[in-house]
Point group: C2
Chain length 213, copies 2
């Protein structure tokens, strides 16, 4: 372990830095001051400096950040300097939407397989990837060195599928099922609970209304 | 303004409390101690007490929380004691997945309309809701008192659609386009940037691997 422990809050902000730096790079910008980056991203310059200090700074005081260097460095911290092979379990609308999202490929996430328990969906394909029956799950993961399983199935089946995944060498689960999964520590889990996000929105709507009243 | 300012971190945790309390309620559990809730949710009892203290406590010391009361109280804080009408802009796979998700309805989010700029998709319907052309957007929002617009369109069109929405009485945008939107303060925005979530996962994969090496 070389790096010190970095809070998930800081990690959570890195993809947004990466997105803005990628756009600056595309526009041909080579250097940017923390003040200009601050104005662009609408976060304080001190927040930016604090966040970057977690990784040794990246910048020369008064001279600004090198956009390309910073972009590569943050990408590396986020583990984007390598490729990950993923499968999608659940071939419904959400699974198909994620399978069709080619931007993931640009970031090094390679779509390799799709599974569904519904025999009517087996044999369909999404971007050239065939939907396979659930019986083939473990064998496919093992033979193809799959890193990530994306769960786009109802919460009722997610728990038992997660148990099956715990018996494989999968390294991470991107979980869209609306349930918290219990998995061994070696399997990283990132939950996307869409209803939770929608409730944050309704909180902010009703809070704003109360403030006006 | 009756309530004190509550951090977005606390608000972000409330939907998860609500989910667990809803499950307890469904199982017929009437009271639960902060210790038992802590074990169930895998957060510390002190975190739970701190979070609930933001809203005046909810519990009687040593007697546990009343599950039904707590469920309703948190639901009310989250603004779930009323209904919100939403439209989805973008009738691709992700838009259709969200339109088909009937759990939103159970929480009071009512799916009222769908829009797309692609004439081939106009006239299709998702759960009985017809896809309309973008020309009808402003009129439909106004005539139907729409509260929330869900953006499931590419980032290239999201900025201009958000500008059009800023000219309406819409109260919130649930933004799945991978771009930050600039909107008047009266319009609440909640971003779901899926690639950002996937990058957090790759960070945790590579971090775990580094720790093992």
């Amino acid at each position: 372990m070389e790096e010190k422990e970095i809070s998930q809050a800081v990690i959570g902000r890195l993809p947004r830095y990466l997105r803005y730096l990628g756009e600056l790079k595309d526009e041909g910008v080579e250097r940017i001051s923390s003040q200009d980056l601050s104005a662009l991203m609408k976060v304080t310059a001190s927040q930016i400096r604090q966040d970057f200090n977690n990784f040794g700074g990246f910048g020369q005081q008064g001279y600004g950040y090198n956009v390309g260097y910073l972009y590569d460095a943050i990408g590396k911290i986020l583990g984007l300097d390598r490729q990950y092979k993923f499968i999608i379990i659940g071939a419904g609308n959400l699974g198909r939407a994620l399978g069709n999202y080619i931007n993931f490929e640009k970031r090094g996430f390679i779509f390799r397989g799709m599974f569904d328990q519904n025999p009517d969906l087996v044999g369909n394909s999404v971007r050239g990837v065939r939907v396979m029956p659930m019986e083939e799950l473990e064998r496919f993961i093992s033979e193809n060195d799959i890193d990530i399983a994306v769960l786009t199935i109802p919460k009722t089946s997610a728990v038992s599928v997660a148990e099956r995944l715990a018996g494989t060498d999968i390294r991470a689960i991107w979980n869209f099922a609306h349930v918290d999964l219990n998995l061994p520590e070696r399997i990283q889990v990132e939950n996307v609970h869409l209803s939770d996000s929608l409730m944050k929105l309704s909180y902010n709507i009703s809070r704003y209304q109360q403030e006006k009243e």
